[in-house]
């Protein structure tokens, strides 16, 4: 890590903003990503995630603020940026009729990669050496995903943008995929992951959460769970569930209440204790059978920060 720290950041933005008419899509976003980091970028639809990425890739000019990607200015040097980053989308662009090797050869051509051994290297790296002659369309989803990653790294990008990279795969295949990302990252590649899924966010070293164009938090999943929730999380077991939920929702001491299959989840301010919460439920005629303060999940944090209430 120490030798990487000597390198300049992979991404820096300062007060990056974008306005569409009256609408402020991205509002003074400032962050730094170091080389070798895996960063998750979360936010509801319309929160400004995609607009941020389009600016980082030089596809959209900022209305204000500045940004550098791999030391290139996002306004002046967008072509250099696009040549040095890799992009993999959940709807990956593979040619189903071409073999694994042919897909890689095609992308190598697009990026002007001449060395044939690079294709062998990539096949080896993504673990598709034995499948190189199979058509992409015939590969199982997990392998197709790895091939898509292969096409995104054939030109040895130093920064990878991944959009919901493991949606719809097996837990085992997902692990294998992330092991691969971590291998690349150990070699100094930086990964920037946008996702709607907390499963994927958990694989990121730091997670940024956007809402209404603002970057509300940017920290490790563990830190976010321990510090970013403005209160306490409770598991509440009560019968019947719906009256108990209504009772919790009616409580002034409950910030957010929800159903989690066979029990309820409540978020309260930090000064509320179990006795008080139980007292409210007793008043409503639905005392809790069991009430326990629990560590919030990343989703609790996300909902607390990203919801409008």
């Amino acid at each position: 890590m120490t030798d990487q720290a000597a390198h300049s950041p992979a991404i820096t933005t300062k007060d990056l903003s974008r306005r569409f008419g009256e609408f402020l899509a991205v509002d003074r976003v400032t962050f730094t990503v170091q080389p070798g980091e895996v960063v998750g970028y979360l936010g509801p639809n319309g929160s400004g995630k995609t607009t941020t990425i389009r600016m980082l890739l030089g596809l959209l000019r900022p209305s204000a603020g500045t940004g550098q990607v791999l030391d290139y200015d996002i306004v002046q040097q967008s072509e250099q940026i696009r040549a040095k980053v890799g992009y993999m989308s959940q709807k990956f662009a593979l040619y189903q009729e071409l073999t694994a090797r042919e897909n890689l050869a095609f992308y190598a051509g697009v990026y002007g990669v001449r060395q044939r051994q690079r294709i062998d290297e990539v096949l080896e790296l993504v673990g598709l050496k034995d499948q190189e002659r199979q058509r992409a369309g015939e590969l199982p989803v997990g392998w197709r995903q790895r091939l898509a990653l292969g096409t995104a790294i054939v030109h040895q990008p130093r920064l990878l943008f991944l959009d919901e990279p493991t949606s719809g795969v097996d837990p085992l295949a997902r692990r294998a995929f992330w092991d691969l990302i971590y291998t690349l990252v150990e070699g100094g590649v930086t990964a920037f992951v946008t996702t709607h899924y907390m499963d994927e966010a958990e694989y990121c070293g730091r997670v940024g959460i956007m809402r209404d164009g603002r970057l509300l938090a940017f920290n490790t999943p563990s830190w976010l769970k321990q510090n970013a929730l403005p209160g306490l999380a409770w598991d509440v077991y009560a019968e019947p569930l719906l009256p108990a939920l209504n009772a919790l929702e009616a409580c002034t001491c409950v910030l957010r209440a929800g159903l989690v299959s066979d029990h309820l989840r409540a978020i309260t301010p930090p000064d509320v204790d179990a006795t008080e919460l139980q007292a409210r439920l007793v008043e409503a005629g639905t005392p809790a059978v069991h009430l326990e303060q629990v560590e919030p999940t990343l989703e609790d944090v996300f909902l607390a920060l990203a919801s409008h209430n």
């Binding site: 719809g168 837990p171 085992l172 709607h196 899924y197 159903l259 909902l303 990203a306």
Partner: protein
């Protein structure tokens, strides 16, 4: 008392040429359940759902025939009657973009055979339930993705089905909208039970974090149902403990912990490791790591046992198979 099964299917089987999309699945879903059909793309989830709602004919088995009872009605013999019990939201559902919210629901109500005098109160009731009552006159094409999905759900519910089949309703939906959607599903199942009207939901999803919201989950792989249980019982089926290690540098800690005796598996996340440790070994492993890791230059900021996640359990069960 025998539970009432809204789905009682045995030997579900569908082959497409040489592809055995669903290969001998038995599935029972009782009243009040929210059954999560989990599994990767291509595991057979959608085909299973389409068999259940009669959209596909099963591939007849040689010895055992397929049987599909929906609320006691035989789907293969009394298809129309069985289908009336089902509300089905396919992965890609079509709404008429040029029609308003109310017009769309009216259309589905008519298609489902609701009488003219009944449709309006029922449509209003169901739009109220999904939170679209204020948008009656809005054109469907102008709704957000989350609202379209709620309208799709309303359309599937308009004829008061007892069984709701949802095929990956939350794929590509943002977490805030997803949370809203799940609250509706859980309410639906709970309200049905309170009113003494048996209701059940079967929902498919590739996402593990949704499994915990279901009352029971089944995990499909290559056309087979390989694991099935309640989330709580699945957690107790893991005969091991999970130790969480937070610290740095993670790659080095990962290499060191995977050589540690008593550690069966190491999973790396963004800022921590989860170690699957043999039953009863957690204390010994933690004590040893507290000594060994700092010696090798690692900095531990947290070391503790944590409850197993459903993902840990599925991985351990899949590794055994």
């Amino acid at each position: 008392m025998m539970p009432e099964y809204l789905i009682d299917a045995s030997n579900l089987r569908k082959h497409f040429g040489g592809l055995h999309a669903v290969d001998g699945v038995d599935l029972r879903v009782a009243s009040g359940e929210i059954y999560g059909l989990m599994g990767p793309d291509g595991a057979g989830k959608t085909t299973t759902i389409r068999l259940l709602c009669g959209a596909l004919q099963p591939t007849a088995g040689k010895e055992q025939p397929t049987q599909i009872l929906i609320g006691g009605v035989d789907m293969l013999r009394q298809t129309e009657l069985a289908r009336q019990q089902i509300g089905y939201l396919p992965q890609r559902f079509s709404l008429y973009e040029d029609l308003t919210v109310l017009e769309n629901i009216h259309f589905f109500a008519q298609a489902r055979g609701l009488q003219d005098r009944d449709w309006r109160p029922r449509c209003m009731e169901i739009l109220q339930f999904v939170g679209l009552a204020e948008f009656l006159d809005r054109r469907t094409g102008h709704l957000s993705g989350g609202m379209k999905q709620k309208l799709g759900l309303a359309a599937a519910l308009v004829h008061r089905p007892r069984l709701l089949l949802l095929d990956e309703p939350t794929t590509g939906v943002d977490p805030v909208t997803r949370q809203d959607f799940w609250q509706l599903i859980i309410r639906l199942a709970a309200e049905g039970n309170q009113n003494g009207r048996s209701t059940a939901v079967l929902i498919s999803t590739p996402y593990m974090d949704e499994a915990a919201r279901c009352t029971r989950v089944g995990f499909m792989r290559q056309g087979h149902l390989v694991v099935e249980d309640t989330p709580a019982r699945l957690r107790t089926r893991l005969q091991a403990q999970v130790v969480e290690v937070v610290g740095r540098p993670l790659p080095l800690m990962r290499r060191l912990t995977s050589k540690e005796p008593g550690v069966e598996d190491v999973q790396m996340f963004g800022d921590r490791l989860h170690l699957r440790v043999q039953e009863g070994q957690a204390e010994a492993v933690m004590e040893h790591l507290n000594q060994v890791l700092p010696e090798q230059g690692c900095q531990i900021s947290r070391l503790r046992t944590i409850p197993a996640q459903l993902e840990d359990i599925f991985i351990s069960l899949l590794e055994i198979k």
